[in-house]
């Protein structure tokens, strides 16, 4: 035991509970950075603490969700329904979300330059357009990096039912990647040891033998600075035995609550997201696939809305009930919208110039609608003052979280990069 702090078996079950000291502070962020932040002044308003991203993968049609133009040619047979806010209407597929419109901030004038799924997903998740020289961090990674937390055993950035391009840490490092949870059965993957505790201790002691041999003739800080191997094993072991793991398990919620979210994986993922946020997780992304409706757009949206509607509405209500809504920013977005024109296959194609994003909580202005699209669905002018760019959403969200969004970080390629380079849209905030 020459180097106990560097050894895997240092953190066995018996000692794990005692290690919330310095080891805990080091979780995802350098200690010095954390100490530095503790001395900063808190912002004047109580900032939000966490983010839930409902990711509508494929790009939902604004016309069949939050921006109907019922009776117009571009609507097809989509009808409009009233919401809890006078004068604001949704498409008919979202009656439950319509009842919580007074909690939402709706942006109907989103514009971007990205019409390809992968590029647009990158754009909306990071606030930056793809760049051949570096990978930008997703919003959840930025939040974890900027708002560290000493007490967490489980990852603070989680992607439930991840799609093809889950949230990444980018230049902040792979340790900021979203932790991927592929099911909603209450257990994150691979968090249960295959053997009994006593035998796991044996294995870890054996591992330490091999690690000691490997460490000979190498830098003392090799693990801490380069491989993160044993440091990560410690964190994994801490996670495996953490009480916080129960936040993944939604069976502890009342049956009635669970039923309200709908009997779908996405619905269960939304409930898990609330529990995780309640346990201290910074950002949860929950993905709903199936919005890429190049054919049979309207039919497909009936199916999709039936999943989204109870889940999204219940998410807002439950966050309110648990008094978490004011500290949590909810974003419901896809990579782009869909064309006003209905194509020959009764579908709609990609449309980055005039789509909708719904937000809620965390200092956003409740019951507010920003921007509008024309009755003929014409492209929005990106230079119009009502047009909101993807980067603006990121900047405004970071601002609401009390993050110094203009701060530049040094990237691995030696180029300083602002956390976000858009504008704060004050009218979206309280």
């Amino acid at each position: 035991m020459n180097n106990p702090c560097n050894s895997a078996s240092h953190i066995t079950r018996r000692t794990m509970l005692q290690t919330t000291g310095l080891g805990g502070l080091a979780w995802l962020t350098p200690v010095a950075h954390w100490l530095g932040r503790a001395q900063e002044k808190a912002p004047a308003h109580a900032p939000a603490k966490s983010v839930i991203m409902l990711w509508m993968s494929g790009g939902p049609s604004q016309l069949e969700t939050f921006d109907p133009h019922a009776g117009k040619k571009i609507a097809g047979d989509t009808r409009a329904i009233n919401t809890s806010v006078k004068g604001v209407q949704f498409a008919h597929g979202l009656p439950q979300v319509a009842e919580v419109m007074h909690e939402l901030t709706l942006v109907r004038s989103m514009v971007s330059k990205e019409g390809d799924h992968e590029r647009a997903t990158y754009n909306v998740k990071t606030g930056y357009r793809p760049d051949p020289t570096l990978v930008h961090p997703s919003i959840g990674a930025v939040v974890c990096h900027e708002l560290p937390d000493a007490e967490m055993d489980i990852p603070r950035h989680i992607s439930i039912l991840p799609g093809q391009w889950p949230a990444r840490g980018g230049y902040l490092g792979a340790q900021y990647d979203a932790f991927k949870v592929y099911n909603t059965n209450g257990r994150a993957g691979n968090i249960t040891a295959r053997v009994q505790p006593k035998r796991l201790d044996n294995r870890l002691e054996a591992l330490e033998q091999v690690e000691q041999s490997f460490a000979r003739g190498r830098r003392a800080d090799l693990d801490a600075k380069t491989t993160l191997h044993n440091a990560t094993i410690q964190k994994a072991l801490r996670m495996m035995s953490s009480k916080q793991l129960s936040a993944f398990d939604i069976t502890q919620a009342p049956t009635k609550t669970r039923a309200a979210f709908g009997d779908t994986n996405f619905g269960r993922g939304c409930l898990a997201a609330i529990q995780l946020i309640g346990a201290g997780v910074r950002c949860v992304e929950v993905t709903l696939n199936g919005w890429d409706t190049h054919a049979n757009n309207h039919e497909a949206h009936v199916t999709q809305n039936a999943i989204l509607d109870p889940a999204f509405a219940s998410l807002i209500r439950e966050l309110r009930t648990r008094k978490l809504l004011d500290q949590t920013i909810v974003i419901c977005a896809g990579e782009f919208g869909r064309t006003p024109n209905i194509n020959a296959a009764d579908g709609r194609d990609h449309w980055p110039t005039g789509f909708s994003i719904a937000l809620a909580g965390g200092g956003f202005r409740a019951g507010h609608v920003h921007g509008a699209t024309a009755a003929d669905g014409a492209k929005l002018d990106p230079l119009d003052k009502e047009s909101i760019h993807v980067a603006d959403i990121h900047t405004t969200v970071q601002h609401a979280l009390g993050i110094e969004y203009a701060k530049e970080l040094m990237t691995p390629i030696g180029r300083p990069m602002a956390l976000s380079d858009g504008r704060v849209i004050q009218t979206l905030l309280k």
Binding site: A174, Q209, G217, T226
Partner: protein
């Protein structure tokens, strides 16, 4: 039921199968633990000591030695040969060597083992397949690409055939740039069809994507960074340089018979201009090397691969180096300055290796052999007792072998290989193949592929550690299973516990245990306790597979 009368009862067949397997396994293992049973590759002993080969190696060695002297660094001593063998296997086949292969290479005379090992690997289809996959990332990326008109698997398989035949690399590059016809008949065409964007109004291959791929993959030039506007912060390229290069792909078009030169000239709307303009096809540097005649893509291909266009050779040397070391000589792998300067000199070795590559007609296998023979490739990643461990400065100057994190498929391949005493190769039993593809896919997804930015060194992550400690793939490969798993077979056939531990270390970590490790594990195996010997052997496997050195190239 007539079938029952014909076939023997099920239990009898199962028993017969089990008897055959166990008997076979026993025979193979006892051989493996003592001697070599592998077929020998064609290998000319002494060939790689001849001056025509040695000179290039010596020059590279001298340049590195001069650099270390200048930096005041004492390089690490040579790593043991098994460590070098492991590096070559990981870099060229994506897996560790098998116990059988280790026995075979150790039977070769000292001094000949590294080049013998390369002779062995170059005859192994795994090498060409793996190299093809790694190169394909630079050529066509990792995504599945446009539906129906892009067949990535065919493309990689074609590339593997080219590498297996050791076709000159300039010819491979020209085939890709000038590819015509159907993506199914001519697999190289997929290099072009992968760029077709089916959501855009424009039909046919995307000139901008093609120009970006060609310049990055073949020339190590990131000229595509200026595709949207001039970079006024000092980039040497102008926006028009990029689009004039893209213009060479303007005529490439999608027809019923595949890719043909029937398209319209390339047009582009520059910033602050109202209308798109026809862009002339002009190369961004060394215009004198561009042939005057021929179809645009043929002219471009000749220019890219011209022996005086050194960017082509440098880019290839840098990529091969990166595959072998886990990191490129010049970072990032696809951005190498066209000229060096006193303030920003080329790293040691680059120009010599590029020269040799050009003189010997872009021979990839020769390039790999030369790099493997250099002193710098053979250096240890650690220092012997009594010396200060290698510093970050050592890593920076290549004065020690810098650790690099293995890619997901290298880790998965190593787990599967460590569970088999013989090499898992393309000729292996179908069961291995099936296991490999299904489990590999799932494992790689969870381990986290970092896509195309593959030479960016990062530390390990929690999902990776959870996957290795608790995941299914490792569990399946270390559990007691006399037919499928090396762990059980070693335990069943090794003559004593010391041999069990040694064979296990060789099979998993490609090295022998230290005296302390051997003592610890021999004692652990022989101690009476609550665990069976089989369980203890599984635990030994678990510990080795979960170690730092298993997941890193050292």
């Amino acid at each position: 039921m007539p079938s029952e009368k014909i076939a023997p009862p099920l239990w009898q067949r199962n028993l017969l199968f089990a008897v055959v397997c166990v008997a076979g396994a026993g025979a193979v293992v006892s051989n493996l633990l003592t001697s070599d049973t592998m077929s020998a590759p064609k290998h000319q002993a002494g060939r790689y000591e001849k001056p025509s080969f040695r000179t290039a190696v010596d020059f590279v060695d001298e340049e590195f030695a001069a650099d270390w002297k200048k930096a005041g660094l004492e390089p690490a001593p040579p790593a043991d040969e098994l460590t070098q063998i492991r590096r070559l296997s990981l870099g060229l086949t994506g897996t560790i060597p098998s116990l059988q292969e280790i026995r075979a290479v150790e039977a070769q005379p000292e001094g000949e083992r590294i080049q013998w090992w390369l002779s062995h690997l170059f005859e192994d289809r795994r090498t060409s397949e793996y190299l093809a996959e790694r190169f394909a990332r630079a050529y066509v990326g990792v995504e599945n690409g446009p539906f129906l008109i892009y067949r990535r698997r065919r493309f990689v398989s074609w590339l593997a055939d080219e590498f297996e035949a050791n076709r000159p690399y300039d010819k491979i590059a020209r085939s890709l740039i000038t590819a015509e016809g159907l993506w199914t008949n001519n697999p190289e065409v997929n290099f072009v069809t992968v760029t077709v964007d089916q959501n855009e109004d424009k039909k046919g291959p995307n000139e901008v994507k093609l120009a970006a791929r060609v310049t990055r993959a073949f020339l190590g030039v990131r000229i595509d960074c200026v595709q949207c506007h001039d970079d006024h912060l000092g980039d040497e390229w102008l926006q028009k340089d990029f689009h004039q290069l893209a213009s060479f792909f303007g005529e490439a078009d999608m027809a019923i018979s595949g890719i043909r030169e029937t398209g319209k000239p390339y047009e582009f709307k520059y910033r602050r201009q109202r209308e798109p303009v026809k862009v002339p096809a002009i190369v961004p540097f060394q215009p004198e090397l561009l042939p005057e005649r021929g179809r645009p893509r043929q002219r471009l291909a000749r220019w890219v691969t011209h022996k005086e266009n050194r960017a082509f050779a440098r880019a290839t040397v840098n990529r091969v180096w990166a595959l072998m070391f886990g990191r490129p000589l010049v970072e990032p792998v696809d951005e190498i300055p066209l000229e060096d300067s006193p303030e920003n000199p080329y790293p040691p070795g680059l120009e010599i290796l590029a020269d040799d590559f050009i003189i010997y007609n872009f021979n990839l296998q020769r390039l790999i052999r030369i790099i493997a023979a250099t002193r710098v490739f053979g250096l240890d990643s650690k220092m012997p007792d009594g010396r200060t461990p290698p510093t970050l400065e050592h890593d920076e100057h290549w004065a020690a072998f810098a650790l690099s994190r293995l890619r997901p498929e290298q880790v998965a391949g190593s787990i599967i290989q460590s569970a088999s005493l013989t090499a898992i190769d393309a000729d292996s039993h179908i069961i291995f193949q099936l296991n490999r593809s299904i489990q590999l896919g799932e494992f790689i997804k969870r381990y986290g592929d970092i896509g195309e930015d593959e030479f960016y060194i990062q530390g390990g992550t929690i999902p990776q550690r959870l996957l290795m400690m608790n995941g299914n793939l490792v569990h399946e490969r270390i559990k007691n299973d006399l037919v499928a798993n090396a762990a059980s077979r070693i335990l069943a056939t090794a003559p004593n516990d010391a041999k069990v531990v040694e064979a296990t270390y060789l099979a998993v970590l490609s090295r022998r245990p230290s005296a302390e490790e051997a003592a610890y594990f021999v004692r652990a195996l022989s101690q009476k306790g609550f665990l069976s010997r089989k369980a203890k052997q599984a635990d030994l496997y678990w510990a080795l597979i979960n170690s730092t050195e298993f997941s890193w190239n050292r």
